[in-house]
């Protein structure tokens, strides 16, 4: 991995890799050496404030990460052009809304909570609350363990992260957390329609 600029392939591999690798790529993109200054400059050049630019960047990064992880980047243009395309859409959408309503730019909470493979219109305030309650019941530790599993992180890394004795203990921990989550999400039927493949 080059110290300065990452190649498209390096970014894709890292985003689709383990939790740690994904985090490293996001950290790079958010850094002054990454793609943040370019986007901030573009939004400011469009007449946006620094705060708005920051919000557009954060939102773009979230969507970009999901799209790359879900293989929605097909390689027709460069990865940076793909990123820029998302950011322009986000900015134009927000800017258009501001023109219409004459109110300050404000990102829609539901919009942020809904990546492109979720149906935007289906997320209601009470559904967000249900997700928040579910997260509380599962707990931070289990959330982390399950995210490791989601990114197919090697069990050795999970052992190291939680300070466990061996791989079996890590396996048991993840299994217990998953069972707990499955029992809880069974009570939230709307989740099934959340995800569109």
């Amino acid at each position: 991995m080059s110290a300065e600029k990452w190649t498209d392939q390096e970014i894709i591999t890292a985003l689709q890799g383990s939790y740690k690798e994904n985090e490293r790529a996001l950290r790079y993109l958010n850094s002054p050496k990454g793609w943040k200054p370019q986007l901030i400059g573009w939004v400011v050049n469009q007449g946006g404030t620094l705060e708005e630019a920051q919000q557009v960047f954060n939102e773009t990064l979230l969507i970009f990460d999901q799209k790359v992880r879900f293989n929605q980047y097909q390689g027709y243009g460069t990865l940076n052009a793909f990123f820029t395309g998302i950011s322009k859409n986000r900015w134009n959408k927000a800017f258009g809304e501001r023109n219409k309503s004459e109110v300050d730019f404000e990102l829609n909470k539901h919009d942020i909570a809904t990546p492109n493979f979720f149906d935007h219109n289906m997320i209601e305030e009470n559904q967000i609350r249900m997700l928040e309650n579910l997260s509380t019941e599962i707990g931070i530790d289990c959330q982390k363990a399950l995210l490791f599993m989601y990114f197919e992180t090697p069990y050795e890394e999970i052992v190291a992260y939680f300070g466990l004795l061996n791989v079996e203990m890590a396996y048991k921990k993840v299994s217990r957390c998953r069972e707990k989550m499955r029992a809880l999400i069974d009570e939230i039927p709307f989740l099934q329609h959340f995800f569109q493949d």
């Binding site: 002054p32 954060n58 979230l62 990460d65 799209k67 793909f82 979720f118 599993m149 993840v174 989740l191």
Partner: protein, 313 residues
């Protein structure tokens, strides 16, 4: 926990199976009730995971921004201790500013030498413009040209999902970037304001180009000047993400040009601008692509490649 079937379901839902694998797996799901239930459960899990990741990333971004700010702050004292070193430079800067201010200026100011505003690429597409005849009444056209071509929509076909649309915007941006790298406006007989606009364009100040060309009166008695104005506007609008306006400007050029050197690049750029909203301009895109493929066209090979990509979406 990471059973093979578990992994396969996740790969399927994450779009990481090949087309053949995915369609075979879909068939399996349709035939196996237990498998279908497992897939549904993972769909729910993924929805929750993605919600957590969103929250996780929000927290991380806040943390990273703080870290970066702290890093910058720790670098500041070093700068402050050495700041007196900067005084001579500041004096020199003031001196230069004074020289620049009192330097006698004429219309062809040496501030931006002609060589500097010349694009790097050799003349390619605008060569023949020098011999194009004058066209009286072009000014009227700029203001009143109705954007007829961009009003139609085609709802008869399935709408393109936003993910693919963003891919198309990225593709259009890349192809447009290639266009810009071969663009050459030098050698045209244009007036002072257009020269100023060109200079701004070279500096990538696209917003300023638009402002200058839209608000200020320019003598558009000559076709060459009208075409230059539309070309600068079209590319500037494109770079600013205002694709509808970009398409309009390129359409104005295409409507004027009888020579392939003028109309063909304009048509190609118009096509790239329309790609920003494939669902809206699908009919126009398809028809222009057909035209470009049916008859000899400078951009024939590119059009063919683009059509293949669009067909594969």
């Amino acid at each position: 926990m990471h059973t093979e079937i578990d992994k396969k379901i996740r790969s399927f839902l994450k779009g990481r199976l090949s087309e053949e694998e995915a369609s075979a797996f879909k068939k399996e799901i349709a035939e196996d009730d237990t498998l279908r239930k497992a897939v549904d459960m993972q769909r729910k899990e993924i929805a929750v995971f993605e919600y957590w990741l969103k929250e996780d990333l929000k927290n991380k971004l806040a943390k990273w921004d703080k870290e970066d700010a702290k890093k910058e702050a720790t670098q500041e004292p070093m700068y402050q201790t050495n700041r007196f070193v900067l005084w001579p430079f500041l004096g020199l800067l003031i001196l230069l500013a004074l020289v620049w201010y009192f330097y006698p200026k004429n219309e062809k100011s040496p501030v931006v030498p002609q060589e500097k505003i010349k694009p790097k690429a050799p003349i390619k597409k605008s060569k023949e413009l020098e011999s194009t005849p004058n066209n009286q009444g072009s000014k009227e056209r700029i203001i009143t040209e109705p954007p007829q071509a961009i009003k139609n929509t085609d709802k008869s076909k399935k709408l393109m999902p936003s993910a693919q649309q963003e891919e198309l915007v990225a593709l259009a941006s890349d192809l447009h970037h290639m266009e810009l790298s071969t663009l050459d406006l030098s050698g045209r007989n244009i007036d002072q304001k257009l020269t100023q606009a060109e200079s701004l364009f070279e500096k990538q100040l696209y917003k300023d180009v638009i402002e200058l060309l839209q608000k200020q009166a320019i003598d558009f008695q000559q076709k060459e000047q009208y075409l230059t104005q539309q070309e600068l506007l079209g590319h500037s609008f494109f770079m600013e993400g205002k694709y509808d306006e970009a398409a309009k400007a390129f359409q104005n050029i295409a409507a004027q040009g009888h020579e392939a050197d003028i109309s063909h690049p304009a048509e190609w750029n118009m096509l790239l601008s329309w790609l920003s909203d494939y669902n809206k301009y699908r009919k126009k895109i398809d028809s222009l692509l057909k035209k470009m493929l049916d008859a000899p066209h400078v951009y024939g090979p590119q059009a063919k490649e683009l059509k293949n990509k669009l067909d594969s979406l």
